[in-house]
């Protein structure tokens, strides 16, 4: 394990088909993961903002392969959906494969002249001709790439589907079948760069950390993860365990957020999925939890002749919400069918569900018609029609489809339904509808994700805090998570990787940092990202919360626009305060 050595960066120019390897000691303070990715992206953005649509960075963390659950990868890019800073995280086998290539980060820029796929290995970077697989689904293109690339071992395959190649602003990148760089449209960035996928294949040896405590600490972390209750919910029912509780509490987005509780919640609960549809659990590599839950998708392609097809489809809480309750689908088979439709096309399942839900309501209100969508019978609960809608959005060319490909914000503005478009800062909302802390956190967080700062948790534990206090706590949590996503520890393990354990884990891996130094990384990375986001166009005061958020109670409480605005303003003020303090400190210190 390298001891705080400079990150090794692979830069790939898709246009010129050239690569360059650099060593960046100046980036050691970012620690790695999302912090490293943001900086590598930011410096190129600052040099040439116009070229940023053909640019993305993938970065792993310094603990990859060394400890359980510390092997995720962050992607940073310019989001085609929001037009602003985009960040997404993925597991699968990518973290391990990337670690064993010896690269800490991969920067890919430019637009390939013809459709290509990249192969990144320890001692080679190759450009493959992707013409044959360009239009294929995520599944099929993954299979062919695996076949073409032959060798087993630690290999990860990133690929986009038709949504990405057709430039849908909420297209995802599939990672090893079950995981994704899901949100904010990295798939469309790949597509715009003429990049169908990346095969990362690492076989370098990584010597063991020499510190005495390492083996013992690995065991300690492993046993905490596996033998205690710390992460049991993630492998038992998985995140789907949240369905019942959140619906019961009134935090479960339903029928385009007209309700926050679904009468069919029990039918699509984690328990219901597990009892009748769950086939198996699968893990990301170096995680002994196995939170990926795979359900049986079974479908008659010729009902009369009883001809069936089947495959495994992974499900999670936010997918059951977005492609279930949000679109009024109250039985698992229907939810699974819609997830499969989104997967096959390569769409962000959450955005797809929220956009479909809006379209259904817009159709009910007469703002959008079957002539517009090209789909008959679109209604809450109409699984086949919703699946057809998703397919047409990707593949058809009526004005509605072209508009929908740009995401819900654009679509709603165009057809006059922004009031009921469930968006937070241009992103189709994450599926935790709990109140001010959650919504402010979704708007302000770097990924527009509930995991950025856990506002949903704050809303449940402490719903009556004044905005300034909410903001302080959200930012504090966000800073902690910046440390974890630099390492890059899966946030499901956030309770295991306490600040003290983090310090010990780094030390045993040969990276000596004090608790204060580690915390400082979190603050530094948070502030860096906020500043970069500002340069990329994000404005707190430009965030518009749709009227729907003030109509439907969250956790049983009707939200007020004034207090919502005050909470977001307080978040902005808190970040500004920290930024001010940081620059005063830097100025005072002198160099």
């Amino acid at each position: 394990m390298p001891e705080r050595t400079a990150p090794r960066i692979l830069e790939v120019d898709l246009a010129a088909r050239r690569v360059e390897v650099t060593s960046r000691p100046d980036l050691i303070p970012a620690l790695g993961g999302s912090g490293l990715a943001a900086r590598l992206f930011g410096e190129r953005f600052d040099r040439d903002p116009a070229a940023a649509s053909h640019l993305f960075v993938l970065a792993g963390g310094p603990l990859a392969a060394a400890y359980p659950l510390a092997t995720k990868v962050a992607a940073v890019f310019k989001s085609p959906l929001t037009g602003e800073y985009g960040e997404s995280h993925a597991g699968g086998r990518l973290g391990l494969a990337l670690r064993f290539t010896g690269y800490d980060a991969v920067v890919v820029h430019g637009r390939a002249e013809h459709p290509v796929y990249l192969t990144v290995a320890c001692h080679d970077v190759a450009f493959g001709d992707a013409e044959a697989i360009w239009d294929l689904s995520c599944d099929e293109s993954g299979r062919i790439l695996r076949q073409l690339q032959g060798s087993p071992g630690t290999r990860s395959i990133l690929r986009i589907g038709p949504a990405g190649t057709r430039g849908v602003a909420f297209a995802c990148v599939n990672v090893d079948t079950w995981r994704h760089f899901g949100r904010l449209g990295l798939g469309a960035v790949f597509g715009a760069m003429n990049l169908k996928g990346i095969v990362v294949s690492g076989d370098a040896d990584e010597p063991l950390p020499r510190r005495g405590e390492y083996l013992k600490l690995y065991r300690e972390i492993y046993d905490t993860v596996v033998k205690t209750d710390a992460l049991s919910k993630y492998h038992a029912l998985g995140t789907a365990v949240n369905v019942r509780g959140l619906s019961g509490a009134g935090a479960f987005p339903t029928r385009n957020l007209r309700q926050a509780s679904f009468e069919a919640a029990d039918a699509i609960s984690g328990e219901a999925f597990a009892e009748r549809f769950l086939l198996r659990q699968i893990a990301c590599s170096s995680c002994p939890v196995g939170c990926i839950h795979v359900a049986l998708h079974r479908k008659a392609f010729d009902a009369k002749e009883h001809e069936y097809e089947s495959k495994g489809v992974s499900y999670d809480y936010e997918l059951i919400s977005a492609l279930g309750a949000m679109v009024g689908v109250g039985e698992p088979a229907g939810v699974i069918e819609l997830i499969e439709a989104a997967e096959s096309l390569g769409l962000d399942a959450i955005s797809a569900g929220v956009l479909a839900a809006w379209t259904i309501e817009a159709t009910e209100r007469g703002l959008v018609t079957p002539a517009d969508t090209g789909v008959e019978g679109l209604a809450f609960g109409a699984v086949d029609a919703i699946a057809a809608l998703l397919s047409r959005i990707v593949r058809s060319d009526l004005p509605f489809h072209a508009a929908a490909r740009r995401g819900l914000a654009h679509l709603a503005e165009r057809y006059g339904g922004s009031d009921f478009a469930a968006l937070t800062a241009g992103n189709e909302m994450a599926q935790y509808y709990t109140g001010y802390a959650s919504l402010a956190g979704l708007a302000a967080g770097p990924r527009h994700s509930h995991l950025d700062n856990a506002g949903y948790s704050l809303d449940q534990k402490n719903p009556d805090l004044p905005p300034a206090e909410v903001a302080r706590l959200l930012v504090e949590e966000a800073e902690c998570r910046e440390v974890l996503t630099a390492l890059h520890v899966c946030l499901f393990a956030r309770k295991v990787y306490t600040p003290e354990l983090t310090r010990r884990a780094l030390a045993a891996a040969g990276i000596d940092m004090t608790a204060e130094e580690i915390a400082a990384v979190g603050r530094r990375n948070l502030l860096y990202k906020h500043a970069l986001r500002g340069r990329m166009g994000f404005r707190y005061d430009a965030v518009v919360f749709p009227k729907r958020f003030f109509e439907t109670p969250a956790l049983g409480r009707t939200l007020e626009p004034g207090r919502m605005r005050a909470t977001l303003d307080a978040y902005a003020a808190r970040v500004a305060e920290l930024a001010e303090a940081a620059s005063a400190q830097a100025g005072g210190g002198g160099a």
Partner: protein, 138 residues
Amino acid sequence: MPKILKDPEMNRCILCYSCMLACARHNYDSLSVDRAALMVRTAGGMQGRFVASICRSCRRATCAEACPSGALTQRPHGGAVFVRERCIGCGRCAPACKAGYLQMEPHLRIPLFCKQCGLCARFCPHGCLVMEEANAHA
């Protein structure tokens, strides 16, 4: 009674790689899964089965029969014992393996040979890999 590695419950495997990582860590001073004396992989992609490639503890260890230097010798209850100092790196053992399991490590020029230490089983969260009494299936 000596114990040998078995993989009775691979249907429960979640492909977490904890077993290979444990072997690499404890036996090869490495973080890399390529330095492990077992391999867990997909058979037919992520939609398919997960299978383990492990030493099958043969009563007639053909790897040992093929070894010209005595680095691999038959173990009475099954399998073989590998003595690294005697290995000359010829690579004859790997193709002789009846299970298609044994691989040569290309940089170290030794076979990645299972010493039946049981650490892979210890680090499997679902008991897919177990150490069983050698005579259990006599």
